[in-house]
């Protein structure tokens, strides 16, 4: 198998673009070769500087800043789509309303499904001075939370194509040497997505897929089905890079094969290492991307075929 670790993770992904609200109109935003680009803001760097100095921010610039803040944010994996059939609908109106709600009152505005706080403090409100300091702290946290909320919603509003590319970027940022703080989120992200792929691949219940373990070393890993009936389990070990290099590029399941690694990256043609069934030896197969309209961000990832 060819060593593709030096290739960018997105080598199998074409560009995609969409339109976003900016000023009084709508502007194109494009993802290309791992970068978010603003073709209608040719001097975006200058606009960033102006914005930092207190100038007004164009909608596209705000969006690009949000993208930049979350390229290694594991919450993107927890919130974002698990697959093309996992429908997430966030409109730009939703984003605007979320922003307005945050400005009005933060938590109060988002109170429709308030979860009971996990922590309880065995004390009544502190005396006035301490109380106001606490209020300020709470206020600051609410503002940060509202900003983060708006960020994530606006990134989801870009559509599936952008969401999956951002997920790939986040996964790639942590894949080389996931530390203890990132491993649980990464393992969950891989397991959750693989479980849905396995459901399509084998017709099994996603709950029958065990936590995916990291494969580190030579070879590609392991996929085996054990037990029968209620005891049936799919046990999988894959490299941490699978999420970015395979799943985010739309390569996870092609022609009834589970793709476990990319041998030769490229678009629209690539060669992948794929399994026909659990326990079988993987085989190298050439895959080709069908015609792809990347002009609509919702179009997502290429549709590959053997």
């Amino acid at each position: 198998m060819t060593d593709t670790r030096n290739d960018p993770w997105y080598s199998c992904l074409p560009s995609c673009e969409t339109q976003v609200p900016c000023g009084q109109g709508r502007h194109i935003v494009r993802w290309e070769a791992g970068q978010l680009r603003l073709p209608e803001h040719p001097d975006a760097e200058a606009e960033f500087v102006l914005a930092a100095l207190g100038g007004g921010k164009a909608g596209c610039v705000v969006l690009a800043e949000a993208w930049g803040r979350h390229t290694s944010d594991l919450s993107v994996l927890a919130v974002g789509p698990r697959g093309s059939a996992d429908e997430i609908v966030v409109s730009w109106q939703d984003v605007e309303e979320a922003a307005q709600a945050g400005q009005r009152g933060g938590a109060v505005a988002f109170s429709r499904v308030r979860r009971a706080p996990l922590r309880r403090l065995a004390s009544p409100p502190a005396p006035a001075a301490g109380h106001s300091a606490r209020q300020r702290q709470v206020q600051a946290e609410q503002e940060r939370a509202a900003e983060r909320w708006k960020d994530l919603l606006s990134l989801l509003a870009l559509g599936y194509g952008f969401s999956v590319r951002l997920a790939g970027q986040v996964a790639a940022a942590h894949a080389d040497s996931p530390d203890a703080t990132a491993r649980p989120a990464l393992a969950t992200a891989v397991t959750g997505r693989l479980a849905l792929v396995a459901e399509q691949w084998l017709g099994i219940d996603p709950d029958e897929v065990d936590e995916v373990s990291w494969h580190d070393g030579p070879g590609w890993g392991r996929v085996e089905l054990t037990g029968t009936g209620g005891e049936r389990r799919l046990r999988v070990s894959l490299p941490a890079s699978w999420l970015a290099r395979v799943w985010a590029c739309g390569l996870a399941l092609i022609g009834g094969h589970l793709v476990v690694a990319v041998d030769r990256a490229g678009w629209p043609d690539a060669r992948v290492l794929a399994l026909r069934a659990p326990g079988a030896e993987p085989v190298l197969v050439d895959v080709h991307a069908r015609e792809y309209d990347g002009l609509d961000g919702a179009a997502g990832t290429p549709d590959w075929e053997l």
């Binding site: 927890a78 988002f110 429709r112 979860r115 009971a116 922590r119 009544p124 939370a145 849905l196």
Partner: protein
């Protein structure tokens, strides 16, 4: 402690729960977010209670989950089938609290410790505990009543009496019977053997509203021999604080036994005892026979117990070989709790107090006649249990319930919300065996904090049904348990 395992378990559970909202993708029914998050919340609370995860991590995970659910909810997904607790507006996003949970919004229920605003020393210092058992009458032109003193405690936080009081109704020809409210404690006078004078400050500590404690202000010296207490124009009642006499009134020395419960086992023990003491939250007609009623009224309480056990194992705070999950399963079976998801078979070797309480619930004709209102003067300090020091300051029967007045030190002021309503701020198991051999669980009822110490009541489940001649108190933490037998002398209200 495997924090990574704990976090991974919680995240995977959230991931599994999220598959519900992906209905169009998976073509499976989904009951809505309300039901699907009960297990997640229980596991999150359990993992924070055993300190496998910190609040911030858990709140981040739950915030992401809430947002993930919200962005997958659409109006057409709620038009058929049962809907959970939250119903979104048609066609619009439902904004969850998400990160706003991090705003450290706090809950303060009447049953958990509340702190006074007075500064004061921390726990520690010499203790003087004296059973009292005296009545101080009060009468003026508009009010009559009594203050019954149960015990005197002088600790680092100050000096106080635990007490219960009552006033007598008058009959107003125009308005009928009139309840006259509280005794005016500020009008009582208190002097010591050296001529020092004190005022009484009343503080409720939950449970019956006519019971609580009165603090002495200013704090008296350590070595006073007695206090004289009287209402205006009333008789003087002398409270003897002689330590020799106090010791003579006490029971045997407490015996301490080492136990070895892992944090996970301790949490499950608290969970089992929570189930066993849930009776007061049900209507009276159901209380006595909770385990004998079909279908069991507690079945909804148990959602996620199996997940909690699995999460505790993933966090390495519960051995897969532990017998405690099987005992919890046995309690569930005995209380007719179904749907708990515990895979361990019900164990046979239940602790004697648990068996006693289960037998009580399963009795077809349980005792229904409450004991006469009264109190027993008790003042005993228990040896420290895992950093917590308890002093017992009176036993009270009133209004069909029984209450143990307690002074606690070493309790944490900030705690997690325990799964299934566990009182994590009071991580001690307290049981009382009466002279008839029946066990009574002691559940925290309410507390107030005073200068770093907590004064509160433990509610006995079931209540005492007779004026027992003695009690055996069993208090247990994760690493030790204490037993002490106390003779009781009852006084009636």
């Amino acid at each position: 402690m495997n924090r990574e395992g704990a976090e991974t378990y919680l995240r995977l559970l959230a991931e599994a729960e999220l598959r519900g909202p992906m209905v169009p993708a998976r073509r499976q029914p989904w009951a809505g977010p309300g039901g699907s998050t009960a297990r997640l919340t229980a596991v999150a609370q359990a993992l924070t209670a055993v300190r496998a995860l910190d609040f911030e991590t858990v709140e981040d995970i739950l915030a992401d989950f809430d947002l993930a659910v919200s962005v997958r909810q659409r109006a057409d997904r709620f038009t058929s089938g049962p809907v959970g607790a939250a119903v979104p507006r048609p066609g619009r996003l439902m904004f969850p609290p998400g990160k706003f949970a991090r705003s450290r919004l706090v809950g303060l229920s009447s049953r958990e410790p509340a702190r006074s605003t007075q500064p004061g020393p921390g726990p520690g210092g010499p203790d003087r505990l004296v059973p009292v058992g005296l009545t101080v009458p009060y009468r003026d032109e508009s009010l009559s009543g009594e203050m019954f003193l149960m015990a005197f405690a002088h600790t680092a936080a100050g000096a106080r009496f635990t007490m219960v009081w009552q006033t007598h109704r008058r009959y107003d020809p125009e308005h009928g019977p009139v309840h006259l409210g509280m005794l005016p404690f500020e009008r009582f006078t208190v002097t010591d053997n050296r001529g020092g004078r004190y005022q009484l400050d009343f503080a409720r500590s939950g449970g019956p509203e006519w019971a609580g404690d009165v603090s002495l202000r200013p704090e008296p010296p350590d070595d006073i021999r007695w206090l004289d207490i009287s209402a205006p124009d009333g008789p003087v009642v002398r409270v003897d604080l002689d330590p020799v006499a106090a010791e003579a009134a006490g029971g045997a020395e407490p015996s301490v036994t080492e136990v070895k419960l892992s944090p996970g086992e301790h949490l499950l023990v608290m969970l089992a005892e929570r189930l066993l003491t849930v009776a007061p939250e049900f209507p009276h007609a159901l209380r006595m026979q909770l385990a004998a009623i079909t279908p069991g009224p507690l079945h909804t309480m148990a959602t996620g117990m199996g997940d909690v056990i699995a999460a505790l194992e993933a966090a390495d705070v519960l051995s897969p070989l532990s017998p405690v999950p099987g005992r919890l399963a046995a309690v569930c079976a005995g209380m007719r709790v179904s749907g708990h998801g515990i895979t361990a078979p019900p164990a046979q070797d239940l602790p004697e107090p648990w068996l006693s309480l289960l037998a009580h619930y399963q009795r077809r004709k349980p005792d229904t006649v409450p004991v006469r209102d009264g109190y027993a003067a008790v003042a005993t300090a228990l040896p420290e249990l895992d950093g917590i020091r308890l002093a017992l300051l009176g036993l009270l029967n009133t209004d069909g319930g029984s209450w143990l007045q307690v002074l606690g030190r070493g309790l944490e002021s900030e705690t997690s919300r325990g799964p299934f309503g566990i009182d994590t701020y009071f991580p001690v198991s307290v049981w009382i065996r009466d002279s008839g051999g029946r066990w009574h669980a002691c559940r925290p009822a309410s507390w107030h904090r005073h200068n770093g110490e907590y004064v509160g009541k433990l509610q006995l489940v079931p209540p005492l049904t007779r004026s027992t001649a003695w009690i055996e108190v069993l208090a247990a933490g994760p690493s030790a348990q204490v037993r002490v037998q106390l003779p009781l002398r009852w006084r009636y209200l």
